[in-house]
Symmetry: C2
Subunit: 263 residues, 2 copies
Amino acid sequence: MKSPRYKIVLLGAGNVATHLGLALKKSGQPIVQVYSRQFENAVGLAKKLNCGYTDSIQTIDKTADVYIIAVKDDVVGEIAKLLKLKNKIVVHTSGSVDMNALKTASANYGVFYPLQTFSKSNKVNIKAVPFCLEASNSKTLKSLTFLAENISNNVLEINSEQRKTIHLAAVFACNFSNHMYAIADVLLKANNLSLDILKPLIEETAKKIQHASPVEMQTGPAKRKDKNTMNKHLQLLGNRKEYKKMYRLLSKSIMDLDKQKKN
Amino acid sequence: MKSPRYKIVLLGAGNVATHLGLALKKSGQPIVQVYSRQFENAVGLAKKLNCGYTDSIQTIDKTADVYIIAVKDDVVGEIAKLLKLKNKIVVHTSGSVDMNALKTASANYGVFYPLQTFSKSNKVNIKAVPFCLEASNSKTLKSLTFLAENISNNVLEINSEQRKTIHLAAVFACNFSNHMYAIADVLLKANNLSLDILKPLIEETAKKIQHASPVEMQTGPAKRKDKNTMNKHLQLLGNRKEYKKMYRLLSKSIMDLDKQKKN
């Protein structure tokens, strides 16, 4: 029996569209067209995928099987409203947009959400990326599962409510932790020091929780309730009021969580 | 010419003392004794290092060359005050304690600070750990450099002022980012989801900044100024007031830093 092949149109030409497009193509699926409002972006990605391109919703290829909307969260709904694709599979790749935003585009819609931070320069091991799938019906889910399992070993069915929580948790675990690195960088640079010195520590901190609970792995002055050190740090922060507020709030939160754990 | 050998006494038997002791022994230096107020801890580490042990400051071996105080930050000073070691080398391993806390213990004192988060269960590649050294004189610095370069490829001379900044920056980059993972864990657990789903993302976030600036790598709703998503997240946080405050504060801080970058 031959594996099914799905002709795919990509709507969007950013980081997610690029990584997904390349992975799907590599897995044997034909990408037929890239749409982007920025013509040069459509052309750029289409070249990499060796497929057609357009910057107009009107000329989107209607003969494909799957339409993947990989654009910024706040324009997913806008684009979906312009699509009338009857029974074609239409999905978006967003962590925060409800699946129902696609309801008017087709009877067969869903979510194809890769839970990873993509950037143009970084190579990502897509096999390890969790794909969160949701679909309006079981036939669509089956197709999405087939597509996802051909590019990742980590495919999960996740409903819209769960996906919202996952996306919120990811903001803390990924966006906010990255901002903590950025603040460290600011503090070091102000003293002519480089973030390089902290890089092994940052890597190890992320590695430690791969096999242990982060609450158990917590270290530092707040965890030790070492008020002396915390006061010294607040003093050292001088007139950086925002960072002082953050230091107090996060230290208190570490202590609160530690107390809850012990109770 | 034979390499110098320094007889070493370890004061402390926790994670730092254990990792340092094992690394120094492996590098060919003789560890002669472990001191810990907790007798069983002294015995436990001494067994691993095949050396003597004591739980009394009075019976510390006075014939060694180097005394490494690897105890909690707030007891370094206390222990140092009890030591009268004349010209022996006395160092502590703390990021936040001033070198001068050791002044009364010997004329030759310094800091031997491994910038890493050690835990009993985790294996750390000590060759990559930055060692921040400081000494009361150049002869002592030379000895400390020799000891450190035998266990790590990343040895730096860092004065007390710089070390304070590094320690503060490490609280943000390591302790606070770990707390962000912990909050993600809390939010997911409350919805019967596991942190496992975020682990590839957490690892990638830490990896991305190894070769790029964290400000450049920032992603997420705050970076995009996506107020719609931010409001949805605040709503989703419900009555978790502390986390809401944090979400607002960190999002604002991300936007502020982004603005500064552009100016």
